[in-house]
Amino acid sequence: MTPEGSLLAAEGLSKAYGPTPALDGADFSVHPGEVVAVMGPSGSGKSTLLHCLAGIVAPDRGTVRYGPHTLTGLTDAQRSALRRTDFGFVFQFGQLVPELTCLENVALPLRLNGTRRKDAERQARDWLEQLEVEGAAGQRPGEISGGQGQRVAVARALATRPRVIFADEPTGALDSLNGERVLTLLTNAARDTNAAVVLVTHEARVAAYSDREIVVRDGRVKDMAGRI
């Protein structure tokens, strides 16, 4: 059963990679504008949970509901379309297209949605400004620092004004100062747009930016606030 008012909810998710179970009956929910930190040790199944929630990976068992949709019942093409329009993503590294400029990287999800290039680049420039990296617009990812790169990645995740942002260890490759700045910008921007954030991390200081924390251990989820 979906918790009342939740935007995205999962129930009884199980997923195994070969003989190794990654998720074992995990439940999860997130509300609009809510930042949920998914914590747990390495190999606990945090990223797998995020991938199942985002429709990137199909769970072996269980359901994921997003608004009126049951993600687990959608085709791959339908899930891809949903990810293009409603979801945003920030990963730890290797996510920006190296041959595109930062501006083009941010405009990419918009263009994939059919926005005309000029419009997409205008919106992208606004997001870069909001994320305080407008100076990197014409540079390629290889020419900027890691912190700037993650801000560009956050700008890209926000560019389509997604309803859910999935962030997998977004500060894992950054120093603490840069990490904090990126998290501040990410969570503030999400709250401004009433987007839900699923923030996978194993760092307690990162979890401090969330409204709620859940812990994944041995493929099961424990809500630190007592909710599912």
Binding site: S47, H51, S80, A81, F91, G94, P98, L100, L112
Partner: protein, 768 residues
């Protein structure tokens, strides 16, 4: 250690080793075949030398160990058949190679290919012509190639005047060296074939680079220094090269078996004759593996293997045009002056200029291509997402794509130029044959005994199916009588034609004629004027045939009643070549020196196999007669065969380059699998990335093909002008090449899609 990594380096290591080995194997096989061409030609000529003896400088007297020997070549349905007639003078005649004992009277020995043809239903007409009983098969030593059609028959009717008396077989003569255009063809074919192979080797040694670099970094972490890592990388490449060397040897041995079924320019050889000379073979064995190691070391030039990973220390290179123009301009500068030196002089210096110019122009395109790709791609802006991704990728790094495409460029440019050269040369022959071949006529020459025999031959030919008109005379050379201080051997020979009034009337206008009449052709040719042909003049019926030759004069006085006769335009459009025309009663053929009968036969094309029936009749008249006709243009078949082989070679080359492109594309995708997974997470359509791969392959290939077209057409036009042929572009071939290029693009993209989609899976996002 490198070799151990190559052998036990996991799936990627094995794939890289296998690809390197495949590239090296192809290179080695192509080079070994190329290195076998001189020995192959030597063997081919050697076999001909060993079995032939068409006349000795000092002919032996008939004896127990001599044989009368005569050529009796014929043509059947466009295929040349080498025939030799023999008549032993004694019990111990010489025997040519491949034959244990000469066939008995009325019997013949045939090559296996001719044996097969004679036994087939298609050979029915030929069986009539070669009416001898087959007594056996000629062994390989007596053949130039396994497909050769040849026979040796004993003829009781072989006369001394038809043949040569010899006491041995085997003749010492030097074959003419290859003509410069042929040398250029061989060199350009090797360049056009080898460049893609080298490109393929270069691509294959880079396969799995990422994992190898990680491994080398790990070795640095445990204490290996930079030279050690380079040695290890070289060792890895060396292992693949050595495997390739073995594979290349095996491929060469397998490929040379095909020699028996391939005939190019009428040359067909035994597989055993396709053997490289020792020195080139040793060089290939040494240099090809070294080249693979060199490519590996060059690939490492721009990187430093550090303990924590690879540092790419090569800054982005701005490609400059000026030095890239040096090679093609040097090529054009070498070739262009040759276009003004008409006619072509086949000197060693000109051959070197031609070969060097062509090679420089071909190689020049490989230097120009990276600049062209950079210059064009750098100016591209906007466009849909797949286009933008592809363009940006090429703007950032077009090196690997350009490297692979440069192979296409050289292969296509070479193929277009060679095709143009062939088409131009073929067109020249076609024009000549179209001019003379319009007239369905066939001519025969053979020694003549007397006029009645020639008359009999004319009657036989007139009775042959399909024959519409026949003319024939006995012809011989005549000259002026030798005089003191005059070397008559340097005179232009003059000709006498002997025939009935009816036959002479076909050559000149003779309003009235009876046997015994003599005519002098009017207007007189230069040769006739030189020897003073006039009524009452005495001429020599036995003039010298060679410079410096002295012959016993055979004086004959032209009757005072000889009349001038206006020459007719001959039906075969040949120049009129008769000066004195005599009837048999005026001059007997036995008084002429080496008289020949000349028979000209017109026929009806619509009669099936009319030509073969005429040849059968001619063989019955005298099998040693030579044939002259424009019926079968052998050049069409020869050039057609070579052009088809070239086209096939170009297709195989392009497929090879396609394989190289797939390797580099998949390698690039593999290096970007995390990014691809991220893009998939964003909901990027598969089609978007598929189109991006297509554009990424298409752009350099299209630019490469355009450059190839420009270079190929320029080179082809220059070569045609140099060789004095009209510039003809073989547009279907150009279109075919462009089509194959397009097919390569689609082929590469189609085969890149499955790995692309596999790498878009979310597994790429997992970091733990």
């Amino acid at each position: 250690m490198g070799m151990r990594f190559a052998a036990g380096g996991g799936r990627e290591g094995w794939i890289r080793t296998a690809l390197t080995a495949a590239g090296v194997a192809l290179g080695v096989a192509v080079l070994l075949i190329g290195a076998s061409v001189p020995t192959l030609m030597d063997a081919w000529h050697g076999r001909e030398k060993a079995r032939e003896n068409l006349g000795q400088e000092h002919p032996p007297k008939a004896g127990d160990r001599t044989v009368l020997y005569s050529p009796a070549d014929t043509t059947f349905h466009g295929e040349r058949i080498r025939g030799r007639l023999i008549r032993p003078d004694g019990a111990h005649p010489p025997v040519p190679p491949g034959i244990r004992r000469l066939p008995g009277p009325g019997r013949m020995l045939v090559s296996p290919a001719l044996h097969k043809l004679l036994a087939s239903p298609e050979g029915a007409l030929l069986r009539d012509r070669l009416h001898y009983t087959t007594a056996g098969v000629i062994g390989d030593e007596g053949l130039q190639g396994p497909q050769e059609l040849t026979y040796v028959a004993q003829s009781d009717t072989l006369r001394e005047r038809d043949g040569y008396r010899v006491d041995h077989f085997g003749k010492s003569w030097d074959p003419a060296p290859m003509r410069a255009p042929a040398v250029v063809l061989v060199i350009m074919t090797c360049v056009a074939l080898m460049t893609p192979v080298m490109v393929f080797i270069g691509t294959s040694v880079r396969f799995g680079n990422e994992r190898r670099e990680r491994r080398l970094a790990a070795l640095r972490l445990v204490g290996a220094d930079v030279p050690t890592t380079r040695r290890i990388a070289s060792g890895e490449a060396l292992f693949g090269s050595l495997l390739g060397l073995l594979g290349g040897g095996a491929l060469f041995l397998a490929a040379r078996q095909l020699a028996s079924v391939i005939t190019l320019w009428e040359i067909n050889v035994f597989p055993s004759d396709v053997t490289p000379a020792l020195l080139p073979a040793a060089l290939i064995v040494l240099l090809v593996p070294s080249a693979a190691v060199l490519v590996t070391l060059l690939a490492q030039r721009g990187i430093t293997v550090e303990p924590l990973g690879i540092v790419r220390n090569r800054p982005p290179v701005r490609r400059r045009l000026w030095w890239r123009l040096v090679l093609p301009i040097a090529g054009v500068l070498l070739l262009f002056p040759l276009t003004r030196e008409q006619p072509w002089h086949d000197t060693p210096l000109n051959t070197v200029r031609l070969a060097a110019g062509s090679t420089l122009l071909l190689f020049g395109v490989t230097a120009l291509l990276p600049w062209l790709v950079d210059a064009v791609v750098g100016r591209l802006r906007g466009g849909p997402v797949p286009w933008q991704l592809a363009v940006r990728r090429l703007q950032l790094s077009s090196g690997s794509a350009t490297r692979a495409v440069s192979g296409i460029t050289v292969a296509v440019a070479g193929a277009i130029a060679i095709h143009m050269l062939m088409t131009g040369m073929q067109a020249g022959y076609q024009a000549a044959y179209a001019k003379s071949g319009r007239i369905p006529q066939i001519g025969f020459w053979g020694s003549a005994a007397d006029w009645p025999q020639t008359q009999q031959a004319l009657t036989s030919l007139r009775a042959t199916p399909g024959v519409t008109k026949v003319r024939g005379t006995v012809i011989a050379n005549i000259g002026r009588l030798p005089a003191a201080g005059v070397d008559t051997s340097r005179d232009v020979p003059s000709t006498v034609a002997l025939g009935s009034c009816a036959e002479l009337n076909r050559l000149v206008h003779v309003p009235s004629c009876r046997d015994g009449d003599v005519f002098i052709a009017a207007p007189a040719r230069e040769a006739a004027r030189d020897i003073g042909l006039a009524p009452g003049a005495t001429i020599d019926l036995n003039p010298p045939r060679d410079y410096g030759e002295r012959t016993a004069p055979r004086p004959w006085t032209i009757p005072r009643a000889a009349r001038p006769a206006p020459s007719r335009a001959l039906s075969d459009a040949r120049p009129f070549a008769y000066d004195l025309l005599v009837t048999p009663a005026a001059l007997g053929a036995d008084r002429l020196s080496s008289p020949d009968q000349e028979l000209r036969v017109d026929f009806d094309r619509s009669t099936p196999d009319a030509v073969e029936h005429i040849r059968n009749t001619a063989a019955r008249i005298n099998p040693s007669m030579f044939e002259s006709s424009s019926i079968d243009n052998p050049h069409d078949k020869q050039y057609g065969g070579v052009r088809n082989a070239l086209f096939l070679g170009a297709v195989i080359t392009l497929l090879l380059i396609g394989a190289g492109l797939i390797i580099s594309t998949v390698e690039q995708l593999h290096e970007r699998r995390r990014l691809l997974s991220t893009l998939d997470a964003y909901g990027t359509r598969r089609a978007t990335l598929g189109w991006s791969v297509l554009w990424q392959t298409t752009l350099p290939v299209i630019l490469g093909l355009a450059l190839a077209l420009a270079c190929g057409l320029t080179l082809g036009a220059l070569l045609l002008v140099i060789t004095g042929s009209g510039v003809t572009v073989d547009w279907p071939v150009v279109a075919g090449m462009a089509g194959i290029g397009a097919a390569v693009i689609l082929f590469v993209t189609a085969l890149s899609l499955p790995p692309l989609w596999r790498m878009m899976r979310p597994e790429g996002l997992r970091t733990e």
